[in-house]
Symmetry: C2
Subunit: 362 residues, 2 copies
C-alpha cells in the first residue's frame, strides 16, 4: 500500500516511519528533498500548491494525505481525480480560517472563546467593549506555533498590534483564564468507526508546545470531549486523525483550535499508547481497521527546540525515547522530542520534572 | 551519524528504522536493491563478499555492522581500513563454525551439548557410542533456521543423513531432552558497559522460531545466563548486541547457539522493552550510551511465515503490533511478525493463545 504525504516535516516523517512497520510506503510532496521526511522516504520535489507536482504524487499512491494545513484546497480538488484524499479537503478548508473554525464550533454547540471578527479598524473599536482585556489578536489564516498572534493589553496597543500582523483579516479573542490546556485526538476509520486517545495536558511556552502529559484522567471531561469530536467527525464525514485543543476553565472545556491531522500533542502515543496516532492515521486513510488507543502507562513528552541538546547526555537519561527529526538547528524550531513512560502518574511526574530540568540545562 | 549494514534483510530493516528515530542513517550492502532493508534505505548493490562493494559502503559511514552471519571475515578485514567494524569480526569468525562455537563455550566453562566433530565416515562410527540416540547432525557452517541439520534416530540412518548434508564437515550433537528453550540478549557498549534483556522463552517449529514469550522470570537462571554472556562479551572485547540460545534441562542452562547480532528472539523488545535490541545495537556500535533494557510488561511475539495472512483481520486483533518486512511470499519464509504486550503474564498468555490460534487460521 502506498500513501502520498503533502509536506515532509517531522509529522510526515513519523507517519512514514509508522508506515514502514506495516509495510506501507510513503512518498512526500515537498520543495526540499532533504527535508525531515525526505530523509526517510522518496520525495516529489515541488511547491505544496503546484498542481502538476501534486498530480504526480497522486498518480503514484493509493491515498493522499497531508502533514501540514497550509495546502491549497483547490489544488487538492484537482488531484482528487487521481487518488483519494483524506482527511476530507473541506475539513482542511474550515481549519485554514480561524473564523470558519469558530463558526463550526458554534454551529455544533461546542463552547469556544468569545471573539470579534476583525476586517478593518472599525471592528477594532468593538473589541474592548465586547471582549474585555487582554485580547488575543490572531490572523485568520497561516498561523501556527504562536505565529500570527499578538496579546494586546490596552486599547492603545490594539491598532498597532493589528498593523504588526499586516492588517490582515483577523479575529480578536477574549482572554481565557484557564486552569490548564487539554487536547483530544480522535481517529475515524472508513466505516465510521472511531477511536479516541485519552485527553492529554499541554503546556505551551511562547506559543509553542513545551510538553504534554497523558493520560489526563477525568472520565466526565473525556466523555464531554469525545462528544464534541464525534460531532465534528460526523459533520465532516471524516477519515483520519483529528485533534482539538481545549482550555479547561471552571470545569468546562472551551475549544481553542482544530487540526485535521496528527498533532504534536499526540507524539507521546508512539511509546505511550497501544497504537500511535501516526499508525492510526495511516490505518484510517487506507481503510484499515483502527488500532487500540489505550495508553500503556503514563507518558510525558517534551519538545526539543532549536537544536538537539547533548545527544549523549540525553541518551543517558533512563527510559528516555529520543526522536531526532534530522532538522538543521534554528532558534525555536522543533527539531526533536523526548518521551518517557512510567507505570504510574506519581513516578512519571517525578521523572518528568527531572527530565525537564535536564533538558533545560543541556 | 551513519551506519553501514551488511545484508538488507528484516534485521537490517528494523535496525534502520530504529536508527531513523534517533537521526541515524543507515546504508545497506546487499545484492538486491529491493530487499526488505532496501525498501527503507539506500543500498550499495553488490555481493556481501565483494571487497570493492564493502569498501564503497565503509567509505560512506562511521561504522559498519551486519545483519547476517555469512559475511567473509577476510573481506571485513580489508574494509576495516575505511570504517570501524562492530561487532568484532573475530566474534563473527567463531560463530560461523559450529565447532569453534562449541570450543568457545567449553573454553569459557559454559555447559553445552555433548558433541563429536565429524570430518569423515570414520567419525560417524564414534557418534552413537559417545552420544546415544537420537543424534542431531549439523553442518559446521552456513546453517540457519534449521537448514543444514538432520535428526538421526538409528545407526543405519547416520551416513545417509551426513551424505544428504553434502558430506561436509559437521558436528554430531547428543539429544537434549529439554524443558524449554531460552535465549538471552546482551548489549555491550564502547566503554565496556553492558545491559541484559530478561531471558525469553522460545518455541521452534520445524527448526524455525515460532514464538517468543518474555520476560521468563527466574532470577537464578537470569544471573547464570548473564554470567555466561559476560564472559563471552569480555573474551571478544565485544561491542553491539549478542544473543545466546540455551536449552533449559533439569534446571541447567545448556548453550546451543551464539549469534553476534540482533536476533529474532528479541523482536519483542520493540514494544516490550524500554529500548529495543535494534536501538541498543546501534547505540553500542556508535559508542552511544546504552538504553534501558527493562521490560515494559509481558510480551508475546509470533513469527509470520510464508505470507502475511489476512492483514485486515490481523489489524483487528486488539493490541497486536504488526511488522511486515515487505518480502515476497515463499513457503516458511519469515515475512513479518506480530507482538502483543500485556501488563501481567496471565493476561498475556490468554491473549497469546488467542493470537496463535487466529494466526494459524488466517
Amino acid at each position: 500500500m502506498k500513501v502520498g504525504i503533502i509536506g515532509a516535516g517531522q509529522l510526515g516523517r513519523m507517519l512514514a516511519l509508522a508506515g514502514y512497520q506495516l509495510g506501507i510506503h510513503s512518498t512526500f510532496l515537498d520543495p526540499d528533498a532533504a527535508s525531515s521526511g525526505g530523509q526517510v522516504g522518496p520525495v516529489v520535489v515541488g511547491a505544496l500548491d503546484d498542481p502538476a507536482s501534486l498530480r504526480e504524487l497522486a498518480e503514484q499512491v493509493d491515498v493522499v494525505t497531508f502533514d501540514i494545513e497550509n495546502v491549497s484546497v483547490e489544488v487538492l480538488a484537482d488531484a482528487a481525480a487521481a487518488a483519494a484524499i483524506w482527511p476530507p479537503p473541506h475539513a482542511l478548508a474550515v481549519t485554514q480560517d480561524r473564523l470558519s473554525e469558530k463558526q463550526l464550533f458554534e454551529a455544533i454547540g461546542i463552547p469556544t472563546t468569545s471573539y470579534v471578527p476583525v476586517a478593518d479598524v472599525a471592528d477594532l473599536a468593538r473589541c474592548g467593549t465586547t471582549l474585555g482585556w487582554p485580547i488575543v489578536l490572531k490572523a485568520r489564516t497561516l498561523g501556527y506555533d504562536g505565529r500570527g498572534q499578538r496579546i494586546v493589553r490596552t486599547p492603545d496597543d490594539l491598532e498597532p498590534a493589528w498593523r504588526s500582523l499586516g492588517g490582515v483579516p483577523a479575529i480578536a479573542e477574549g482572554w481565557v483564564d484557564f486552569d490548564c490546556e487539554l487536547s483530544l485526538i480522535a481517529a475515524r476509520g472508513s466505516n465510521g468507526s472511531t477511536a479516541f486517545y485519552p485527553l492529554a495536558e499541554n503546556v505551551h511556552s511562547d506559543g509553542i508546545l513545551f510538553s504534554t502529559t497523558a493520560p489526563y484522567l477525568d472520565a466526565a471531561l473525556q466523555r464531554m470531549a469525545e462528544g464534541y469530536l464525534d460531532a465534528i467527525l460526523d459533520q465532516f464525514g471524516y477519515r483520519g486523525v483529528l485533534t482539538v485543543e481545549f482550555f479547561l476553565a471552571g470545569g468546562q472545556l472551551i475549544a481553542n483550535e482544530l487540526a485535521p491531522r496528527v498533532h504534536n500533542s499526540g507524539h507521546w502515543t508512539i511509546e505511550g499508547a497501544e497504537t500511535s496516532q501516526f499508525e492510526n492515521h495511516l490505518r484510517a486513510v487506507l481503510g484499515l481497521p483502527l488500532g487500540s488507543t489505550a495508553p500503556t502507562g503514563h507518558a510525558y513528552m517534551i519538545n526539543l527546540l532549536g537544536s538537539i541538546p547533548g545527544r549523549e547526555r540525553l541518551l543517558s537519561i533512563h527510559g528516555l525515547h529520543l526522536h531526532d527529526y534530522g532538522k538543521a538547528p534554528r532558534p525555536q524550531r522543533k527539531v526533536g522530542h523526548g518521551t518517557i513512560v512510567a507505570a504510574d502518574r506519581s513516578a512519571l511526574l517525578e521523572r518528568a520534572a527531572a527530565l525537564s530540568a535536564a533538558v533545560s540545562q543541556l
